[in-house]
Assembly symmetry: C2
Homo-oligomer: 231 residues x 2
């Protein structure tokens, strides 16, 4: 299973907010064996949302959209997603029932837009806030407030699953440029994916679907490099 993550919000594009939602979702999905192939941030704009979501749903098994839910004029994500799938935005009876029942809101207090979802969407209750999420044609729409987003994702996490992968890291005490040949060779010898991330040391990260192959590959490299000495 592979997914694209779309984070909606002008505050992300101006640098006012660091996109920790994306990192959290990527970690959750990776842990479930799901490959995240794109993470894209777009403005609070119906046409942009419709276009990017429509493109991504054609190319990925699922699209997770976060941000831009709620009652105010700059909350246009549901309208964008509705446009992406060619449906109307409609008052959603189940969303209204949930909000006035379990949610504890008064029917008069609910602003119209709050309970509008793309027609025939599945409603995702928001246990931490007001605006409900939705699922429609493989597009999962979640709030942008981190506590709300996380609680809502955990309610649907079982719908995301892929091939389990294993990872391990070898911290190397040599310049990355010296490692080129050995990194190429370990990838040739073993069915693993290898990433190298230079910092104070070079973090070499192995990923594989077979745990014993992973361990053999990491041991092969570890015996051929200067390792960071553990304190």
């Amino acid at each position: 299973m592979n997914v694209a993550v779309v984070t909606v919000g002008d505050e992300l594009l101006t640098g006012d907010t660091v996109n920790t939602n994306a990192a959290w979702l990527c970690g959750q999905l990776t842990a479930r064996g799901v490959a995240v192939e794109r993470v894209t941030t777009i403005p609070d704009d119906v046409a942009d949302i419709a276009r990017v979501v429509n493109e991504y749903r054609a190319e990925h098994d699922a699209v997770i959209v976060t941000g831009g839910l709620g009652p105010t004029h700059d909350d246009v994500t549901m309208a964008g997603v509705a446009a992406a799938v060619g449906r109307n935005l409609e008052p959603h009876e189940e969303a209204r029932e949930w909000l006035t029942g379990e949610g504890g809101y008064s029917a008069e207090g609910l602003v119209d837009g709050t309970t509008e979802l793309p027609a025939r969407a599945r409603m995702l209750p928001n246990t931490e806030g007001v605006a409900p999420g939705a699922v429609v044609e493989g597009i999962y729409v979640l709030p942008g407030v981190p506590s709300e987003m996380k609680a809502m994702f955990e309610g649907i996490a079982d719908e995301f699953h892929g091939t389990a992968t294993f990872t391990t890291v070898v911290d190397v005490d040599e310049p990355e440029s010296e490692l080129v040949d050995r990194l190429a060779e370990v990838q040739t010898r073993y069915d693993v994916t290898v990433g190298s991330y230079p910092g104070e040391s070079v973090r070499v990260k192995f990923t594989a679907t077979d745990e014993s192959v992973l361990e053999e590959a990491a041991a092969w490299l570890a015996s051929r490099v200067d390792l960071i000495e553990e304190e």
Copy 2:
């Protein structure tokens, strides 16, 4: 001027790394009056890089690409950018001269790939690391290591400029759903962009190109809401 930011790296898509580079670049560009219209994270894959960069350069005044520079097998960003513009990746004489001169590296110690840039690209020296950056057809290619990326961007920052905008924030002590009408009205009355960001309070952010209009709009709203009391 509008730009798209492309961050390359499997470590971002697995959630191992939070994309602070993107937030930093967005902040720098916004401060220069440049509109960031997309931030997209893609894998260390030549075809993905070529495709996304090629699409974005057609739609934006400039594209800034970070990450995936260097000598190892997973550093394929220069190859992806070269493919996007239909040029070969070639040894770059100026990059080699800079590295063996000001950079202080020995010619023998340089791994081949380090000095290869898209043909006829402008080289951007890396004052904080080895791998040089490049500019080609409005595509700026920077390293992913934050200290290297920031130093390189600061060397070219003058090439990014747009309409200066002013921003101010009003912190409101009311539920966001209660503010809907007043937020809509202030946008009708004044030539400003208004975003609302709920948290412990509702942060209402005004953006405008005319500072006096900005102040009038913020004052209009501030006199019509419950403000957070300053300690």
